[in-house]
Point group: C2
Chain length 255, copies 2
C-alpha cells in the first residue's frame, strides 16, 4: 500500500518571544510528525510538539545563515524524504521563512520534488525587535518607508549586492545579521550621504527576556556597540524613528 501523502509546512517561529508564534504555526507544530528546527527559533516552542514527534536540529552556526552547519542540500533532502514517507513535516525557522530565511530555496526544492507544501509566515524580528525596543519602523512625519537588508555581506568588498547609496535614502533602515560588519555598514551609509547624526540603535535578542538595546547615531553606533560589548544576534535600526524610543520604551522600562 502506498504511504499517505506527506506535507511540509515552512513555519516562521517569530522573533523570539514564544507567544509571537502564530496560531497556525502552533497548530502545525502540535500535529507534526517531524520538526526540522534551527538555532534561531526559540527552543521552548518545541515543548508544543507531540511526545512522539521526531525533532531534528538542522541549525546554523553563529549569525550567518549563508554558512549552515547542516548543508542546505541536506535540509532539503531531509524535508523531501520525510514528506515522501508520508510524514507531516514542519520546517521551523526563526522570524519569517521568506525574510532572509532561505524559505524560497526550500520551497523550490519541494516543488521540484513534487512535495506539497505551505508557507506559514511569522512575525519578523526586523519589525518586532524594534517594536519591543520602543521603535516603530514607520511613523507619521518621521518615516514613510522602511528597508530591510541582511548585513552579513561586506559593503566594502566589490561583492556586496547592496546599493548603500539607495539604502541611505530610505527613511528607516533595518539591518539583520549585521553585527559582524557594523563599522563597514555605517561607513557605507555615511558615504552614501546619510547624515552622521541620524539616530541609530542595536537590539540584541529582541522580544526575549534577554533583550538589550544600545543607542547612538549613525556616526557613533558601531563604537557604542563595541563599548557596551553587545554581540550578535542583534537587529540594527537607523532612522529618525529611533528617537521615539525615549518615550516608547515600554518593554525594558515596565510601567
Amino acid at each position: 500500500m502506498p504511504n499517505p501523502p506527506g506535507f511540509v509546512s515552512l513555519v516562521g517561529a517569530g522573533p523570539g518571544d514564544p507567544e509571537l508564534l502564530t496560531v497556525k504555526g502552533l497548530r502545525r507544530l502540535q500535529r507534526a510528525d517531524v520538526v526540522a528546527y534551527d538555532r534561531l527559533a526559540n527552543p521552548v516552542l518545541l515543548k508544543e510538539c507531540r511526545l512522539d514527534a521526531e525533532l531534528v536540529f538542522v541549525g546554523k552556526h553563529g549569525d550567518n545563515p549563508l554558512h549552515p552547519s547542516v548543508p542546505q542540500e541536506a535540509i532539503n533532502a531531509l524535508l523531501i524524504a520525510k514528506a515522501r514517507a508520508g510524514k507531516q513535516v514542519v520546517r521551523l525557522k526563526g522570524g519569517d521563512p521568506f525574510v532572509f530565511g532561505r524559505g524560497g530555496e526550500e520551497a523550490l526544492e519541494l516543488v521540484r520534488a513534487g512535495v506539497p507544501f505551505e508557507v506559514v509566515p511569522g512575525v519578523s524580528s526586523a519589525v518586532a525587535a524594534p517594536a519591543y525596543a520602543g521603535i516603530p519602523v514607520t511613523h507619521r512625519r518621521l518615516s514613510a518607508s522602511v528597508a530591510i537588508v541582511a548585513g552579513h555581506e561586506d559593503p566594502l568588498k566589490g561583492g556586496s549586492s547592496h546599493d548603500w547609496g539607495a539604502l541611505a535614502r530610505v527613511d528607516t533602515l533595518v539591518v539583520l545579521m549585521g553585527m559582524g560588519r557594523l563599522e563597514a555598514i555605517t561607513a557605507a551609509l555615511l558615504a552614501g550621504g546619510r547624515a552622521p547624526h541620524t539616530p541609530a540603535a542595536a537590539v540584541r535578542w529582541g522580544t526575549t527576556a534577554e533583550q538589550r538595546t544600545v543607542t547612538g547615531t549613525l556616526a557613533t553606533i558601531a563604537a557604542e556597540v563595541r563599548r557596551a560589548g553587545l554581540t550578535a544576534p542583534a537587529t540594527v535600526i537607523v532612522g529618525e524613528v529611533v528617537q521615539l524610543r525615549d518615550e516608547l520604551r515600554w518593554f525594558d522600562l515596565p510601567f
Copy 2:
C-alpha cells in the same frame, strides 16, 4: 476606592488569514474588556472575545488610513478613557501596529496620558500577502533587500516624501495601500531608473479565501490591474522575486 489599573495592548491582527494572529494576540483578545477594531482586521477574530466584552468599531474608510472615519484623536481618547476606567483594552489593527498602522501615534498618546501599554506585533501583509502568492520578498541571488512603503501619497505631487529614485534601486519593493495611485507609482519608479521589464504583481485580499493575484511587469502592471478589475485593498510587489511565483504559487493552485 480607585479603579484597578487599566492597560492597553496594541495588537497586530495579521494580514487577513485569522490563523496568522499570534498566540499572544489571541490571548489578549480573549481576556479583553474592550476591543477597539478597524475595518482591516478580519472580523472573524472578534468571535474570540468574551461575550461581555465591549466591541467598538473605529474603522477607517477605504484604502487610506490617513482619512479615518473615526478621527485619530477620538480613538486615542477612547483608549485612554477605557484604560483609566480600569479596563483591559485591546486596540486591534490590521497587519502590524508599527507598519503603517499609526500605532506609534497611539502609543505616544498613551505614554503622555500615563496609561501603561504594550505592543503585540503582527504578521504584516507586506510579507505575508506576497508569501501566499508564492513570492518570497528576499531570495538568494535575486533579492537581498526589501523596502516597504505606503502608496497613498501622490508621487507626482511635490508633497510626496518618498525618494522614488532610491526606492527604485532596492531589490524588492512592496507598496501597501497603493492601488489608487498605481500608475503614478510605477511611472515614478520607471523615472527613477527601474527597468520596465522588472516583474511585478498585485495581490488583493492576500492570505484570505478571496485572494487574487495579477502579474505583469513594472511597465504593464497598472494596465493589467485595470484590465482585471482588481481594486483595493492590495499589496503590490516589484522585483525579480515575482518570477518565482510561477513555481511557488502554493496557495491559489493547491496540490
